[in-house]
């Protein structure tokens, strides 16, 4: 009954990280990160040490969900792109393949036009990786960790 889980494997994680790294450098951005629509951070690239990426991920997904709600009321499928301009930092939010959110944070060293252009290219590449991930996760035995959970494991969760 519960929705199928999102699964990330090492190979695809490396590919996604490479796409994020390249996007950050091509777009001259400070930080690039990817969030699933439920607010889980999937990958991040750039100077994230001073950033609370968990909170950013949750708030971005909330923002996208709220905007999606507005779209629905206006009988639009979605508003796939959002842009917020600040005094120093700007944030570009793009829904990729209706499933994940690609976020680019940049300053005056880049421009909205450049970010848009590079995001488009990265989105196509990301879509391919996520297609592979979905297919892989569906294979029987793909998510062994869940099958192997014991009742004892669950009990012990709270005893540590």
């Amino acid at each position: 009954m519960a929705a199928p889980e999102t699964v990330m494997f090492e190979e695809e994680f490396a590919r996604i990280n490479r796409i994020c790294d390249r996007l950050r450098s091509d777009a001259n951005a400070q930080v690039v990160f990817i969030v699933d629509k439920n607010g889980q951070l999937i990958a991040a690239s750039g100077d994230t040490e001073h950033l609370d990426t968990t909170s950013l991920a949750s708030l971005t997904a909330g923002n996208v969900a709220a905007t999606g709600g507005i779209a629905k009321l206006l009988k639009e499928k979605e508003f796939a792109t959002q842009f917020h301009e600040g005094e120093k930092a700007n944030i570009h939010i793009q829904i990729v393949g209706q499933r994940v959110i690609l976020v680019v944070i940049f300053d005056q060293r880049s421009s909205l036009g450049l970010v848009r252009l590079r995001v488009r290219k990265a989105s196509d590449e990301l879509n391919k990786v996520f297609d592979t991930l979905v297919a892989k996760a569906r294979q029987p035995g793909a998510v062994k960790v869940l099958e192997e959970i014991t009742d004892e494991d669950i009990e012990n969760l709270f005893n540590e």
């Binding site: 009954m1 889980e5 994680f13 909170s55 709600g69 960790v145 540590e160």
Partner: protein, 197 residues
């Protein structure tokens, strides 16, 4: 919808605290936040109005122990309880792995409890979930207040399916962690079951 990351060896799950306005959802999260070791929690975010009513959601990321070498992380969310925020409540239920229904034990809030529970069922159905088939627990909160309904009565009204339920006083923490533990266990049991384990 849980997120299993083989690369960082993490299992992430989403739990939503639901219930009528002022039943103590945010208070539950605040107590958990205040009583969890600093390295096991992230920042608590509250998107609230100027009068401290939840506007969109509260959010608290929490780490529990390990399972099969994977770190378990829970994202706890609350919904805004006030009736007119229904559009927001619906959004927050997206991708939920487990639900805690926080009921207000005060007699004059029984109608609000029932209304909110019906609303939960409807909003879940809109997202393709069936409340009877997802990890779900009930908390009877505010047991420390006067003019409260007996637990048996609340159970008959709100817990006809006999899901795990707990008495609580979220302001002083009684029952808060028992509720959280119960829902976390149910979420993992469901994850295991969903993969035929």
């Amino acid at each position: 919808m849980s997120f299993i990351n083989y690369s960082s060896r993490e299992i992430n799950c989403k739990i939503v605290y639901y219930g009528p306005g002022l039943c103590g959802k945010t208070t539950n999260l605040k107590y958990i936040f205040a009583n969890t070791a600093p390295d096991a929690k992230g920042k608590m975010i509250s998107l609230a109005t100027e009068t401290d009513r939840t506007l969109f959601f509260d959010f608290l990321p929490l780490s529990l122990g390990q399972i099969q070498g994977f770190r378990t992380r829970f994202h706890l969310y609350t919904v805004p309880g006030q009736v007119f925020y229904n559009a927001s409540r619906k959004l927050i239920l997206k991708g939920v792995d487990g639900v805690v229904f926080v009921a207000d034990s005060q007699i004059d809030r029984m109608e609000a409890n029932i209304e909110s529970l019906d609303n939960l069922r409807e909003n879940l159905a809109d997202q393709g979930y069936d409340l009877d088939r997802i990890p779900y627990v009930i908390q009877y909160n505010k047991r420390d207040l006067p003019d409260i309904a007996p637990v048996e009565e609340m159970r008959a009204l709100l817990n006809t399916k006999g899901v795990p339920d707990f008495e609580a006083e979220a302001t002083n923490g009684r029952g808060v962690f028992a509720t959280l533990k119960a829902i976390a266990k149910l979420v993992f049991m469901e994850l295991k079951r969903s993969r035929g384990g």
